[in-house]
Symmetry: C2
Subunit: 193 residues, 2 copies
């Protein structure tokens, strides 16, 4: 990448993060280009679709999240590992409002620039879920898609300003439902404080 191109790219990412964090994933791309002092068509060539921009915005943090899943796989308690990771995943999607809807549709859209990132996320969760199922602490009728769906559902709740202040409690309600009765009764990670 040429030097001026690289500078444009990085300035765009910086501004895009600010604007999207403030206004959500449907923020005006034209507005982002204006605030970044970059030509409108330049943004479109760096990021041919909205999904491509979001993918680049999420890349680093997504990598951190999947790394965290790998670490947690080696931890002592399969149920606690899953709960801790779920909390991280919900915090991850909380950064940009509307991102869960975009990710959910990208999961089934092979052509989306976000697709492979979403598959990665699902796989990371699925591994932790399967470990908990083998340990007989998580419901056996759930799979990686369901985990993704529940993270999305909690992310949706966090997106609604009217519900956001209850999202900690609702996290513990929904996350707790993934486990078999009593299996996580002694896990402080599920208490709501």
């Amino acid at each position: 990448m040429r030097a001026d191109a690289k500078q444009n790219y990085e300035q765009l990412l910086l501004v895009a993060h600010e604007v999207v964090a403030e206004q959500g994933v449907e923020a005006s791309l034209r507005d982002i280009a204006r605030r970044a002092n970059v030509g409108w068509a330049t943004l479109l060539r760096h990021f041919p679709t909205r999904e491509a921009l979001l993918d680049d915005l999420l890349k680093e943090r997504l990598h951190t999240l999947t790394l965290s899943a790998s670490m947690l796989e080696a931890s002592e308690s399969p149920s606690q590992a899953l709960v801790i990771w779920l909390r991280q995943a919900v915090a991850f999607v909380d950064v940009y409002s509307g991102i869960v809807t975009m990710m959910a549709s990208s999961l089934s859209d092979t052509e989306s620039a976000l697709h492979s990132s979403c598959v990665e996320l699902r796989k990371a969760g699925a591994r932790l879920l399967e470990r908990a199922q083998l340990a007989k602490v998580a419901r056996n009728d759930l799979n990686g898609e369901d985990l993704f769906a529940l993270i999305g559902a909690l992310g949706w709740i966090g997106d609604q300003s009217h519900f956001a202040h209850r999202s900690n409690l609702l996290f513990s309600v929904v996350a707790g439902a993934i486990f078999i009765d009593g299996a996580v009764a002694d896990h402080p990670a599920l208490s709501d404080t």
Copy 2:
């Protein structure tokens, strides 16, 4: 209302239902006016905001849902009544994709044309929840807002084509989490078939 006005109004509602059921709540209003063979500005005067249109589209079915809540309040089992009503509520929001997000924001926006309808819905659920709590079968730390949030979360899952085929299972997972362990173990309404 003048005769021609009334005819326009009803034609608009008819077409709007079709288009919104197909494309979701963000469907083009201009397109609806075109398909209804009605002047564009005419739609805007009948429905000054998108929320006003949706409110009229939902009114009948919402009334049915609140009536159902009243009936269920007189039924034998408080827990079963709540589960049955929750299923109806999720089916209600399933008709228009994106409606849960619009309703969630209307719940805190007193100016929205949908506001009072949303409050009605929350109240109907809250009454059934409180009855179940008094009977010691539902978690005591949840309130009407939480119930609305969980209905919205399940509605969001139903909106995503990739997750919709799991929504029955996920309903039983999330709805089951509202109750105290074992309180609904014998309720066929929570089985996933």
